[in-house]
């Protein structure tokens, strides 16, 4: 009952103070804060920007999130200053469960949940994709700890084309787990490649869905046709489960309408 500790009593958001902000690309920043959140790679937290909103974010390190500015909440995070407080609920979700030889496939800011994986496991092959060389994230860290392959849509670095294209020509039989995070259509393409090669069940995809509660109650992140909650049953799903799902077809907005 005595709880003047790091965590507030109950599970009210843990308030952390921003230490350092690193501008990674034009639209992506890494925000470091003053407390470590113990989590498995691929688990996520709900990040509260007081007065603005609360949004799901992967942990790119125990004390960091990697934010791409796309709307109100992410822009507010982009304008945050050292010393500002943000709230953290979580970690939530299942995270990745890789085994054996690991191939990681990241598109854009989807590299965030895969970065802790790359640091934790040795000898990962890492495919990093982005629109252009200036959008590539964490290349120096990743080239240190993984066998890094790069793909850019415009060919400004590495393979010229989508990461899925790079994948198509690889010998995937070498890998026991394929851990993937990126834009939904990129993930769908990767899933299709795995499916073509008959190994969709080796794929572990970290999905993005609109989320409100993060704990499997509100239903805003549920997916057709099985009613799985991305926040609690996911965010990481095995490829074969996603084959028959809504992935790549539609998702639901904040009101629950398909879009």
């Amino acid at each position: 009952m005595k709880s003047w500790g790091v965590l507030m009593s109950d599970n009210l958001p843990l308030m952390v103070s921003v230490n350092r902000i690193v501008q990674e690309t034009e639209s992506v920043k890494t925000i470091f804060f003053n407390k470590n959140i113990k989590a498995k790679p691929g688990q996520f937290v709900m990040v509260w920007i007081p007065g603005v909103d609360e949004i799901p974010m992967a942990l790119s390190a125990p004390d960091a999130i990697t934010v791409q500015e796309i709307g109100d909440a992410t822009r507010a995070l982009g304008n945050i200053n050292p010393g500002d407080l943000i709230g953290i609920r979580g970690p939530f979700g299942n995270g990745f469960s890789p085994n054996g030889h690991i191939l990681a496939v990241a598109g854009g800011v989807g590299v965030a949940p895969l970065l802790p994986l790359a640091k934790q496991f040795q000898g990962i092959t890492f495919l990093l994709g982005a629109r252009s060389v200036s959008d590539l994230l964490y290349t120096s860290i990743l080239s240190n700890c993984t066998d890094l392959l790069i793909a850019t849509d415009d060919g400004s670095a590495g393979f010229h084309g989508y990461v899925a294209g790079l994948l198509r020509d690889m010998d995937l039989s070498l890998y026991d787990s394929v851990c993937v995070c990126g834009p939904e259509l990129m993930m769908k393409s990767v899933l299709d490649v795995l499916d073509t090669k008959g190994i969709s069940q080796r794929g572990q995809f970290s999905l993005h869905r609109y989320m409100k509660c993060g704990v499997g109650l509100c239903g805003s992140c549920c997916m057709d046709p099985d009613g799985l909650c991305v926040c609690r049953d996911g965010p990481v799903f095995q490829g074969d489960i996603l084959l028959k799902s809504e992935l790549g077809k539609y998702h639901r907005d904040s009101s629950g309408r398909r879009c």
């Binding site: 109950d10 549920c222 997916m223 099985d226």
Partner: protein, 296 residues
Amino acid sequence: MMIRLQSGPVEVGGVTLRNHLILAAGVLGTCGSSLARMLREGAGAVVSKSIGPEPRSGHSGPCLVVLEDGVLNAMGLPNPSREFMGELEPLKDEPVIVSIFGGNPDEFGEVASWFADSAAAFELNVSCPHASGYGAQIGTNPELVKACTSAVARFHKPVWVKLTPNVTDITVIGAAAEDGGADAIVAVNTVKAMRISTEVRRPVLGNRFGGLSGRAIFPIAVRCVYELYESCNIPVIGCGGISSAENVIEMMMAGASAVEIGSALRGNPGLFREISTDLYREDGISSDEIVGCAHE
């Protein structure tokens, strides 16, 4: 010593339930697929997210925090409105109760009209404590409750009215629902509440005010059901903090003919099956033997 109930379907408030355990409104209830999942997981019936006259995104976050002994939420009634009809298509003939809300009797009637064919029953949300102009702002006014109930009763589907505990006398509102033609009362929705983050000196919920659910409110819900059982002539469906077969029996003794379960599903989507395993036996007693027995 433990009471076990007979397994099998039961009829409550005009709806044939597969068992006494119903998924509460707003919990995993926005998609047809998650409602179907809860039925597969053993729910006797499911209530949808509350659907209103216009699509709503809900309040800004945080919308929900989990406390040591309950859940505090202010979702803000996010809902796809009319488009929810599509979600129900794969659920034809399943025991799906559609929860609806509106700002006045006409809006209630309009929303109900969309689901007059697909709903097994309507549940009127006149009790959400944190959406201005809706929910409890109607449910604290007996005349409005009566009028909204009547507006939906004309679709000749069973009408359940879900009450808020945040009133001076819940039996007055229960009587209004009954007068309006309700087939059952659901008691209760969440208890109006707030928590503050002392570090940032502001309420933790985006909407500031929210509703408390889960174990903390069970004794309050039992009290409300007990009061309504004495004052009403229609069945009462108990809701609030139920998480075990024992809680179900206690609610029934207070007067509940069936129960709804929400917060306890957090982290445990298999809860309906677990409770059923504890609660039912082929040679169990009929729930009639215990509903309201604590009043004798």
